[in-house]
Point group: C2
Chain length 224, copies 2
Amino acid sequence: MRHHIVATLTGLLLATSAAFAQTAERKPYNELYYQRASLFDALGCDSTSIVMLGNSLTHGCEWHQLLGNPNVLNRGINGDVVQGLRDRVGSIVDGRPAKIFMLAGVNDVSHDLTADSIAGAIVDLARYIRTATPDTKLYVQSLLPINNSFGRYKHLDGKEQVIRDINALVRPQVEALGATWIELYPAFADADGNLRSDLTNDGLHLLAPGYRIWRDILLPYIDD
Amino acid sequence: MRHHIVATLTGLLLATSAAFAQTAERKPYNELYYQRASLFDALGCDSTSIVMLGNSLTHGCEWHQLLGNPNVLNRGINGDVVQGLRDRVGSIVDGRPAKIFMLAGVNDVSHDLTADSIAGAIVDLARYIRTATPDTKLYVQSLLPINNSFGRYKHLDGKEQVIRDINALVRPQVEALGATWIELYPAFADADGNLRSDLTNDGLHLLAPGYRIWRDILLPYIDD
């Protein structure tokens, strides 16, 4: 009898946990997230693909044209957070792409999470990708600096050091996982550690000259 | 003397008009507009390009993968209006692309403009493109239906007929210009003329099944 109750409870817990996982997986995001995620799932990718995985900085660019390679796929979603990437990366790792370039975390920073917890989530995502598709070359890109003098994103006020802390925490851990670290930060920062004001019009996103710098950094890894 | 004043006034007017045009051209939009427009200007296009020109419906898709053609370029910007397209189409027509597929107007509808004025702006844009790059095949796509039962876009409430009126006004005028009309509306509408609820999660934008329908309609024109 006691055994039966335990078994039933375990069953209930498993069912609840599965239901929770399903709900947690796809419900906390905005409509755009599900529009894009459903498209990415439908399009898929394959062993020739080079996947740009990220948030609005990735979404905003035309990567296959910028990098001159038709295998490059945009998998960015405006406003996405690290857990958002984790919740939609399944159909990407299933395709066993040649390469994945990931960049996320700044939206988590704007949600007031700590550097430790954000870095932990980035490393967990990198570990998941490395385990799920070990033949895929994984490139983890540093967060870019921000520039709060534009006064556009109040939730990023005073968070410059959080971004630098995340980069410092993530790099050794993802390198230990066999991923390649791509240091974007210095090329985009001015002498004060702010996003160069000639590269942005809102202190967070990039104008064309910013994407040109990014391209020059990425091209050796794309052709690698 | 009078002649001199007239000439000076004309010069001043021209200078003011040029300055106004420059200001008017790039100032009334949000930051994302200038981020994307600067990128599009920098990337350019050429005689092999197939340009998808539009708003968020265009921006949200990965066209070169969906259509299986590396020459397909995404030139969509979330929230863009017909005048926004006009203000950034210069670098596109300069490239003399093989084809341009345009779709815009629903954001103008949400800004409470009349069907007449929106249709007029779409036709003007089509005429400009036809004149500026006559060898480019121009495809004007009908506006899609919306579905206000989602309650997401209050500024579109009750505007279903405005969309149908725009389509009816635009079609004969752009066909007279030598553009090809692509009728998207019926494939996306339910029996009541609303955007099919299985194709959207907000009554305006598309989930993967919507883009699949769009692809099937476009492919014959892409391969044409």
